[in-house]
Symmetry: C2
Subunit: 357 residues, 2 copies
């Protein structure tokens, strides 16, 4: 069974506005380190996958940017979604492309915009996942050992017993939506609960069979798309069919309904970097908790995350703020309110102030 | 006795950085209304003074800007200080210019960068001041009836009794430096205490005589400058003499030492607008205390003063902040810390980051 990786890079990443704009979502940004999150995602798996076994699924508007960032990948490995239809159609589209090329492929899929520390542990995890996906025809997910009572992530509850005495592989008992704080604290204190990373591994025939069983409309559409791959009608059929596929997540459409899901325990550093506040948490800060990128002058400031693209940020007496300047926009917001950046973006859309989006 | 007005426009106004920069200090800015503070100062007194009786004292670098803002004033009424030497030399320089033209002139002098509301009351006050300056050869100052226990201003204590039964004219008992809050509260609760406005009225021969008595080095320098006015050597002598005059304020050099000072009570609205925080106090705000000038998007904000020259300020969940964007600088600071903007400017000077000054 050959191994293929699919990186989902179709997100809009509005919570990183104003740095992320419609023409440059989060996964294409250099938020940490000096490579974009997408580039880091590819770099991370190169020890396990040849370049031509790595696929990127993304929106048409970002194709040029992605190809510039990843010149080493063959152009046919960039799969364009004509519309954003959530993760089940995205994964299905990648699956039929890979199946056309290699009918018994193993497939890893994960989002481009997560931060992962500890590449070696990550790859070991993936390797274990591929083994079990091949051995048991299982759908495999990676469960992250929680490091805090996070309310921003979904959780996985595993069975009490390990799978066949393998210490880091379990059957999944259930998937759990984002909890409130008391429940998150309960999960954090109980070793049967893990963060749902959105990283999945399976054999391509297995995931397509599950789609046929659970999401027949999706499956039927994917069959039409697959039949057209390599023909003159490929683009036309994709444009016709894909935008009408059911916009459902793989978690909701398949994973939560499947009896035979395995979870490989992951204890590498993982963060979905869902907001400026999350980024502030992992940023290198000085002894006053100040993490500053860009031109700055100030004193008596504590626990602020400041990022300037070109302007000078001048600050006195601030605490627990995020300040981000990008182009003609300046965001100022307490660290614990950065989830509300999405609402700012919504207000700008509502007012048709497209120049800022 | 003819009446002349002298407006001191030599200040640097660093506390309004980044809006005020070295080439454009506070008095030349449109901080409130749609005319600069200097223009407003001139507009305000036009009912009492002919244009050619209004003098502006200022630094060389700002002459062009001032003449552009005040095209109606004769060019010879702009008096350039070769260096900033505090208010006593500034006032002395204007006094000798006026004396050369009109040996028995009455002279009003006040800073260009104060905000005054209630022009009619202001002019009535000045009229009364000129009358007493002429009648008693007194040095007259305007004392402002305090409207809050302000610690940012100097105070004047007046005699208990009015002068000759005139209800708003008193002898000055003493000048008081900026007080701490308990003293400011005491002054605020006692009708013998007034804010020291820095607005003075006197006969030119009287102030020059007081300078001769109390500040002989200053007086001697002024004599040399006066002798050269209208000659070929005027500029050379000014350049030679002025930068070495004692850099002392008129309050310290003359007023605090003079026995015969009268105070006219002023109860027009007055503010020296010493900081962004002071400007925020007088700015029109909405029901949440938000005063916003420029492009903005936000919600859940309270009591913030926001001024943007061109950028979009995006804010969520902020309280009691001042945010000012001007060119490539963004200032973010709690309202009660805006006095510290001077320190930011000092740090930038120290680091020779001239591009921001």
């Amino acid at each position: 069974m050959n191994r293929y990786a699919v990186i989902m890079a179709g997100g809009r990443g509005e919570r990183f506005w104003p740095k992320s704009r419609s023409d440059r979502p989060k996964q294409f940004l250099t938020l940490a380190g000096n490579r974009s999150l997408l580039q880091q995602s590819v770099d991370r798996i190169k020890k396990m996958f040849n370049d031509d076994h790595i696929y990127i699924v993304l929106g048409r508007h970002h194709l040029k940017l992605a190809q510039e960032q990843l010149p080493e990948l063959p152009s046919e490995n960039f799969i364009v979604e004509p519309a954003g239809r959530n993760t089940a159609p995205c994964i299905g589209l990648a699956a039929v492309h890979i199946q056309k090329r290699d009918p018994d492929a193993g497939m890893l899929v994960f989002p481009a915009d997560h931060l992962i520390k500890g590449d070696k542990k990550f790859l070991e995890c993936l390797d274990k996942g591929f083994s079990w996906a091949s051995r048991d025809d299982a759908l495999v997910t990676i469960g992250i050992v929680p490091t805090r009572p996070e309310t921003g992530y979904g959780y996985i509850e595993r069975d009490a017993e390990t799978k066949d005495q393998n210490p880091s592989v379990f059957s999944v008992k259930r998937f759990i939506e984002k909890p409130d704080l008391p429940r998150a604290e309960k999960f954090y204190g109980d070793n049967r609960y893990y963060w749902n990373s959105g990283i999945f591994i399976w054999r391509v025939p297995v995931i397509l069979q599950r789609m046929e069983e659970e999401m027949p409309a999706l499956y039927e559409g994917l069959q039409r798309i697959e039949a057209a791959i390599g023909t003159d009608g490929q683009a036309t059929v994709l444009e016709e069919v894909f935008p009408h596929l059911p916009a459902i997540s793989i978690d909701y459409g398949i994973m939560e309904k499947s009896p035979r899901i395995l979870m490989v325990e992951g204890n590498f550093g993982w963060d979905d970097l869902g907001s400026w506040g999350a980024l502030a948490e992992i940023a290198d800060a000085d002894e006053n908790g100040m993490a500053v990128h860009g031109h700055f002058v100030g004193f008596d400031n504590e626990n602020c995350y400041i990022q300037s693209e070109g302007s000078l940020i001048a600050a006195v007496g601030l605490q627990n703020l995020v300040i981000v300047q990008d182009g003609d926009v300046i965001l100022v917001c307490p660290r614990h309110r950065t989830q509300d950046v999405k609402e700012l973006v919504r207000l700008l859309k509502e007012d048709q102030r497209e120049e800022y989006l």
